[in-house]
């Protein structure tokens, strides 16, 4: 059995250490000291409880158990002395707060860090530098930048204060890059003037430079729209045409208009291929100062084009983007695999949704690409317009969504806007703290929301006063604004230009505990919706008071899902169907193990997504669908009519031994360990297979720990 030590490393459970510690405390007291048998009993019981937890328990948790057991034996004086001893040890440890954690991560012993972010490899030097900075930032945040009650609430898993590893710096979360402004009006990268590009491929090159710079100056994701690259297709076309005419003149030959047009379009296609390749390969091979590839989302929205020619050119770029993603990228062994980035979003709209519409062929390609590579995800223009005052625009990075906002001329603006940061409320804890009493529930909910509100205001205050010089690419050279040097970013933090988000997690478990039913049950759905509405009301109130736009957000909690689950078990014990898993359910999602078909799930979740104004994504879990594209198209069509934003978790794995292309399954080996096995040839060598799965909305290809593998195995299919 493993335990997790204070510095984050793993160690084997050693019962003798408990016996020794309690004996020490017991011997230092004359009154009610314990017999060796009693001490052994306490230690045995703690061992038994740890085994029952079915996860690695922390030292602090073990000490809590010891304390409780001493008290249960009736030795209160001894318990008191044990607590005092613990407290003194804590003080000693506090003297150097980060040394051990930093040293353990350099030596690759920090289990917590290893499990934290599936996109970062903590054994690599450059990633370790980011993590070291993160440890220092977390330490400063906990000791100096946040008040003790917020730190404590975060530690207890009542709330989650996201990205405290970046909080020490004046950084924001995520945004929509105003690529259009930067490309059309020029920008400055590393003090070098970059003028409007003269070709599509140069525009793509500059775009990736911009993306790299932006990613290094914030901690969240960014989105760009391919529409902003589309005008450069015509520029390239004109340029190529001039070249071709010149060549013909030089060669002293004649060519018909048709021949010329054909040569021009062929060359143009090659340039588009090259440009799109630049973006794809640069993005996944770049490493930002955050120790990972830029978290980039690429938006593909035909209707965003300014005229018919631009729309046709945009279609060419979208088509090429889909083709290249379908092909994948080669790993070091030369095998084509599913890349995690960039994330792609394809917008479903009137002229691409039905067979017979002009761009339906693109939707078919998108469906085929999704079946093989898990992306693109889908946004319904129709549903988004219903919810966003007639607008359709990208989410920022993964799912954070802006509110509609108009500039001083009354025009809606989305690009250049951003999110200030997130604090997530653990809804399950609110429910369990109320003991199931509804009145008490709303009262505690109020208190917790206020706590989140205060924590969010700390985030906001941390950004206030930030000078534009902190990140020139963002604030001075167009990615988010064109502020002067030395100017603060303050005006962008107010009036709804940017948002700040109240995240939430565990709606399913919350409702399950309060009503005894899943929120999919018509009797429980109204309560679940009330919870969502309550958070909306709170956000609206805060917005009115502060002139800062608060929005509610279905947080993609990755390692936090374990932290919350662990904290809940610690605070409330194991409650069947509520705290008996090693994870809690993200946002408003239906529980992974609940049988429901894809269409019912999307229809149900749509009501919740409408109330998650700051962003959220729904997903359906499906098998390998490469041979059933018509079924993929049915799901896509359903998304168009029913839900704003959704994705398909498809399975298209690859066995390098037999060439099998389909779903590689999880089986139990002789020792009860879960392993991946090719259903065709029985290969179990992870190095000879490629498996891609989405976890919490992110594509992972590196295989997972046993806990997560278990969760993946338990997922029910919705088709």
């Amino acid at each position: 059995m493993k335990i997790i030590k204070r510095n984050g490393s793993e160690a084997t459970f050693d019962i003798d250490k408990i016996v020794a510690a309690v004996t020490k405390a017991s011997n230092s007291s004359e009154v009610n000291s314990l017999t060796p048998e009693q001490i052994q009993e306490i230690a045995d019981y703690v061992e038994y409880k740890c085994q029952k937890m079915s996860r690695a328990v922390s030292v602090e948790e073990i000490q809590d158990m010891v304390e409780n057991q001493i008290m249960a034996t009736g030795a209160f004086d001894l318990a008191r002395r044990y607590v005092r001893y613990r407290y003194q040890r804590t003080l000693v440890r506090k003297a150097n707060t980060t040394d051990n954690r930093i040293l353990s991560l350099i030596e690759c012993n920090n289990e917590e860090v290893k499990q934290e972010n599936s996109n970062k490899n903590p054994t690599v030097n450059s990633v370790q530098r980011d993590y070291m900075a993160g440890e220092v930032s977390k330490d400063l945040t906990q000791r100096l930048l946040l008040p003790p009650d917020i730190v404590e609430a975060d530690k207890q898993g009542i709330i989650h204060f996201h990205d405290s590893d970046y909080f020490a710096q004046h950084m924001h979360n995520c945004d929509l890059v105003n690529l259009e402004d930067m490309l059309q009006n020029g920008t400055v990268i590393s003090e070098t003037l970059i003028e409007k590009p003269h070709s599509f491929s140069t525009a793509c090159n500059i775009a990736t430079q911009i993306i790299a710079q932006v990613a290094s100056n914030q901690y969240g994701g960014q989105s760009i729209s391919l529409t902003h690259l589309a005008p450069f297709v015509q520029i390239s076309r004109d340029k190529i045409r001039t070249e071709v005419l010149e060549e013909i003149r030089e060669l002293n030959t004649n060519a018909t208009q048709e021949q010329i047009a054909e040569i021009v379009e062929n060359r143009l296609h090659r340039e588009i291929t090259k440009g799109v390749q630049t973006i794809q390969y640069q993005i996944i091979t770049l490493m930002t100062t955050n120790g990972q590839a830029p978290f980039l989302t690429v938006f593909m929205y035909l209707n965003e084009a300014k005229n018919e020619q631009e729309k046709k050119d945009l279609a060419l770029i979208i088509e090429e983007t889909l083709r290249q993603r379908y092909q994948g990228v080669k790993n070091e062994a030369g095998v084509w695999i599913t890349p995690a980035f960039p994330k792609l979003i394809y917008v479903l709209e009137e002229d691409n949704i039905d067979p017979g519409t002009e761009y339906f062929y693109l939707t078919e390609l998108a469906a085929k690409c999704t079946a093989k590579r898990l992306v693109p995800d889908y946004i319904s223009e129709k549903k988004m317009k219903e919810l966003k005052e007639g607008n359709c625009f990208p989410v920022m990075g993964c799912r954070s969504c802006l509110n509609p906002w108009k500039d001083e001329n009354g025009n809606y603006q989305f690009y250049g806007r951003f999110n200030q940061g997130v604090v997530t409320i653990n809804l399950v804890d609110v429910a369990l703290s109320s003991g199931g009493d509804k009145d008490k529930f709303w009262r505690i909910f109020d208190e917790r929301l206020e706590l989140c509100h205060r924590a969010l205001m700390y985030r906001h205050e941390r950004l206030k006063g930030t000078l534009s010089d902190a990140a020139p690419i963002l604030w001075q050279y167009g990615a988010l604004a064109r502020l002067k040097k030395g100017e603060t970013i303050d005006k962008l933090l107010f009036g709804g230009y940017s948002t700040i988000s109240l995240g939430y997690a565990g709606l399913y478990e919350c409702v399950k505990y309060m009503t005894g039913k899943s929120h999919t049950d018509p009797e429980a759905t109204p309560f679940a919706l009330d919870v969502m509405k309550y958070m909306n009301t709170a956000c609206d109130k805060w917005t009115l008071e502060s002139n800062i736009k608060f929005s509610i957000y279905g947080s993609p909690i990755e390692s936090t899902t374990y932290k919350f689950a662990k904290c809940l078990q610690k605070r409330f014990g194991i409650i069947e169907g509520v705290t008996d898993k090693t994870y809690i359910t993200n946002s408003y999602h239906v529980h992974v193990s609940e049988p429901i078909d894809a269409f019912s799930k999307l229809a149900l979740e749509s009501q919740f997504q409408s109330l998650s104004t700051g962003g959220a994504i729904s997903y359906v879990e499906v098998p390998n669908m490469q041979n059933n594209i018509p079924a993929v198209l049915q799901v896509i069509r359903f998304i168009y009519d029913n839900i704003m934003y959704a994705e398909l978790n498809t399975k298209s794995d690859y066995c390098q031994c037999c060439g099998f292309d389909g779903e590689i399954s999880i089986v139990e080996d002789g020792d009860g360990k879960l392993v991946w096995e090719c259903p065709k040839c029985g290969n179990r060598d992870q190095d000879k297979m490629n498996v891609a799965r989405r976890t919490c909305g992110y594509i992972g290809t590196q295989f997972w720990n046993q806990g997560r593998t278990q969760e993946i195995k338990e997922r029910v299919l919705h088709l």
């Binding site: 379908y326 078919e364 390609l365 041979n627 018509p630 049915q634 799901v635 259903p679 065709k680």
Partner: protein, 180 residues
């Protein structure tokens, strides 16, 4: 006729999203059959009015491409007699949706010629089908990478084209036609 199961969002047995009826009773007894319990004609529940209505209701949503008959063996004569009026009802109510059927019999030798399967309903049933996946499951020819069939010998037949042409014409699968 009895049936074992009705799947309401099936994507494994035919193109698109389908409602699949697993009828009971099969006399092929193929080695390696994926559900031998359905060989028994009394397996599951009776296919009554309520079951028929359940399927018709499940076929209604726009995202359902059609119905698939599976088994067991839909082409055992007693099953054909129960299925024919039901299929007629499906066709009347949902003329736009497609009907697929799976059989262990072979179209030319068993369904179109005299055999233990062919009965007074067979031609009528065939005329109501869009696609027939035929042939016994042969374990030695099993291939899990095949679309909508279990072993290499089985065929996905475009029934209408085949009956018109007088020789077997394969169904064109849409997934093969979306080219990257």
């Amino acid at each position: 006729m009895n049936y074992g199961e009705i799947k309401k969002c099936d994507i494994a047995n035919g193109e698109g999203v389908r409602v699949t009826l697993f009828v009971s009773g099969c006399t092929h007894h193929c080695k390696g059959c994926f559900q031998p319990e359905t060989w028994d004609f009394s397996y599951g529940r009776p296919f009554d009015e309520a079951a028929a209505e359940e399927i018709l209701a499940a076929l209604a949503p726009s995202y359902i491409n059609g119905l698939t008959l599976l088994g067991g063996e839909p082409f055992e004569p007693e099953n054909q007699r129960a299925l024919l009026p039901f299929l007629q009802e499906v066709r009347t109510r949902f003329p736009q949706k497609t009907v697929w059927a799976y059989t262990g019999y072979t179209l030319e030798s068993d369904l179109l010629s005299e055999s233990r399967a062919r009965c007074e309903c067979t031609d009528a049933i065939l005329s109501l089908l869009d696609v027939l996946v035929d042939g016994e499951f042969i374990e030695s020819q099993k291939n899990i990478s095949l679309s909508f069939r279990g072993s290499e010998n089985q065929r996905i037949i475009d029934v209408k084209k085949t009956l018109t042409a007088g020789h077997v014409i394969w169904q064109e699968l849409k997934s093969d036609h979306v080219r990257m």
